[in-house]
Symmetry: C2
Subunit: 434 residues, 2 copies
């Protein structure tokens, strides 16, 4: 298990250094991870990365190599090095289930621990949740735009090589059906897909020979890429090579709304009525929605998905919201500077429902009243993630991903049709502090 | 060394499978990595990630775990599994130096290898170069906007936890002076910085006590964050606690142009004339430029930097441009479909210069004439990166990063002042195919 401990901003460690010298490092504290607002015009966000974060917390240990480097660079004092050497997170974290929807101010994670123990997780928690949630939030809009047609994530080449794996995972949680990324298949159980690129066609003297070679290896159920030279001839060559039982054709260029109709008509005329059409040309949620009336069978999405479709970072922050004073009394705290005020205190969020439809995000600053959680009134949004340093295993690995995908489907079904629309607007439900 | 081989789109392997069955997998081939265009309105791009890619190529091996998973999932045939088991890249790669500028069509990497050997590197090469170059390209504009004032990269929390390290590295290559990311310090030799967040101030009963604790641990040269409560009182408390020898104050909120002037006047009035002011509030290249006349001493940049300031993926592609036919004759190839045509053939790029100023990106489709490379006429842009499978070590590790940073500084100095301006325009120099 590679240590994740240096994937951390230097100031987390210098704060520990100073707190330790002041004797304040073990002061019981509550940190909260939340987004002040949704990306401009978005109606909801989708939490993703929780399972990855829990694995990163398990691997958050300062080993010999990390300590030697920190020592050599004089980042912290020898006393702090000793403290870091003994570090493992022993606190408690509760938070939104992975796959859950969120709104402005939703307390996505609540971390209870000594100050130093909790503050040191800030950078890694934000890196993972900000990126993964940006992808999941964009993905959910694309799934909504696709209206039930399947989507595949194909953006590995448009984001860092590790983020690519996280993006495939996040998109799957938000309802995509598959990914091109093999590591996401191995690591997280996401179904993988893909057949051939233009390079394969270009390797052979004719398109027909390339198709024949692909069919020989992958069978007639494969997807043939028909736009290397001329789409009309490509479709002709495809059906000639594969027969009318060809699985699918893929189109990666051109004015898709027009081209797809022509290709469908051509396939049908050739008798390939069961051959599907998949399109992959720089799609985002709006382009997908614009193809709703076209005879597209599935979509492959790359750049827009893995870069959050215009909102590549979710804007989540990690803030100290309460701590004990030297006498052991709890204090709610919050920054008061302009435009960035924080609501202090420990929070318990409830998704208030009416007839099964989400109506508000109710954030109780202390425990919610019992009737807020009565059968149809709402549901508690927090689940235990880490208890006294023990990570709850349900959120981990491929099983955690499958659970998050199922939970996302249930949570988004609570949203009104208006709340799911693509057009710009306010958050689908209001956030209320109670 | 963790295998990088599954950070790959599935279709790379199914193409190998089909090519192998057709006996075409070893056909000598040339692949090229390039960007068809710059992000909208940008005048130049900066190549980054080359050193990381070379390390990823060295680790691109299919080990037992990878092969077992591919077998279990029936991704490819048993024959292809054998081929993958024996895979290591034995071809030749030449390309732009890391840190070099690029323009539309610049052939950033030219990969010469058997078809299968070369095609399988597509995904990893694009993941790394697209992301790292997006960050470096944004960073170079920020460095230009800062007009010599130092910049620090602080965006780790706004991008995936591995991309964070790559972003810190890319920003440093493009002229940033430091990063908050500790792993980038350890792994790539980037100087690290950072002192404290608002949480630290909130942990103490008063701001003055928090400052005293920080000063006790980090000394008077530290940077105090003065905007947790009220900036004016924050500055007062800072100088009271540290004395007039305080290193710096940091401001992370408010209307910076106004606030910075007020803080400078206040610091000077208190006698802290040597105390620097650093600002870190959601900056991008335009906000930095807007502060040119304000008494800012340094900038910390986060979100905009690590997300490519509006262009989070560079749009680079990896294309087969030539291969031998079955008889051993070389063929230039290229896709002809609408809007995505590719210029075939092996290329040799030259940055043409006049009086030391770049005037055009000359792409010779065969070897450039000798006079194109005469003393002041231009310089060859390609350097050898991998020769017959042997990676040239000069580009690797922290030394490679230092060399890339130095090369970037030299390359950008060749650009005219007009080519460096922030405002939208065409590429700073035209690309010519000769």
């Amino acid at each position: 298990m590679t240590s994740t401990a240096l994937r951390t901003d230097r100031y987390e460690l210098t704060m520990i250094d100073a707190a330790l010298r002041a004797g304040a490092h073990e002061r019981p504290s509550v940190f909260e991870l939340f987004a002040r607002r949704l990306p401009d015009g978005r109606r909801f966000g989708v939490v993703a990365g929780t399972g990855r974060l829990l694995e990163a917390i398990e691997a958050f240990r300062f080993g010999e190599d990390e300590l030697a480097w920190l020592d050599r660079e004089r980042v912290v004092s020898p006393e702090t090095l000793d403290w870091l050497a003994a570090y493992r997170f022993r606190g408690t974290i509760r938070g939104y289930r992975e796959g859950e929807l969120y709104f402005p101010g939703s307390p996505l994670l609540v971390v209870e621990a000594g100050f130093a123990e909790g503050v040191v997780l800030e950078t890694i928690a934000l890196s993972i949740l900000n990126y993964d949630s940006a992808v999941a939030s964009a993905a959910a809009r694309m799934v909504s735009a696709a209206g039930g047609r399947p989507l595949a994530e194909m953006g590995s080449r448009r984001t860092g090589e590790h983020s690519a794996v996280a993006a495939a995972r996040a998109a799957y949680i938000a309802g995509f059906g598959a990914t091109s990324n093999l590591e996401a298949g191995r690591r997280w159980g996401v179904p993988t897909m893909g057949t051939a690129a233009h390079a394969f066609t270009l390797l052979f003297p004719t398109e027909g020979e390339a198709f024949a070679a692909q069919l020989a290896a992958l069978g007639p159920g494969t997807t043939l890429l028909v736009d290397t030279y001329d789409i009309r001839r490509g479709v002709e060559n495809a059906v000639r090579a594969a027969g009318t039982g060809l699985g699918a054709v893929r189109i990666d260029s051109g004015d898709l709304d027009v081209v797809v109709r022509e290709v469908r008509a051509q396939l049908d005329a050739l008798g390939a009525t069961g051959t599907r059409i998949t399109v992959t040309n720089d799609l985002d949620e709006y382009a997908i929605a614009a193809l709703a009336a076209a005879p597209v069978d599935s979509y492959g999405v790359g750049t827009a998905l893995v870069t959050g479709s215009g909102s590549p970072a979710s804007g989540m922050v990690y803030k100290l919201v309460a701590h004990q004073d030297a006498g052991g009394a709890w204090l709610s705290v919050g920054k008061t500077s302009e435009g960035k005020a924080t609501v202090g205190g420990r929070k318990q969020p409830v998704r208030a429902l009416r007839d099964g439809v989400a109506v508000s995000e109710d954030i109780h600053v202390e425990d919610p009243p019992v009737d807020a959680l009565a059968a149809d009134a709402g549901r508690l949004l927090h689940v235990p993630l880490v208890t006294d340093g023990e990570v709850h295993t349900a959120a981990l690995g491929p099983d955690g991903v499958a659970a998050a995908r199922a939970h996302h489907a249930a949570a988004i079904a609570e949203l009104s049709a208006d709340g799911r629309r693509l057009s710009r607007g306010d958050a689908a439900i209001p956030t209320r502090y109670l």
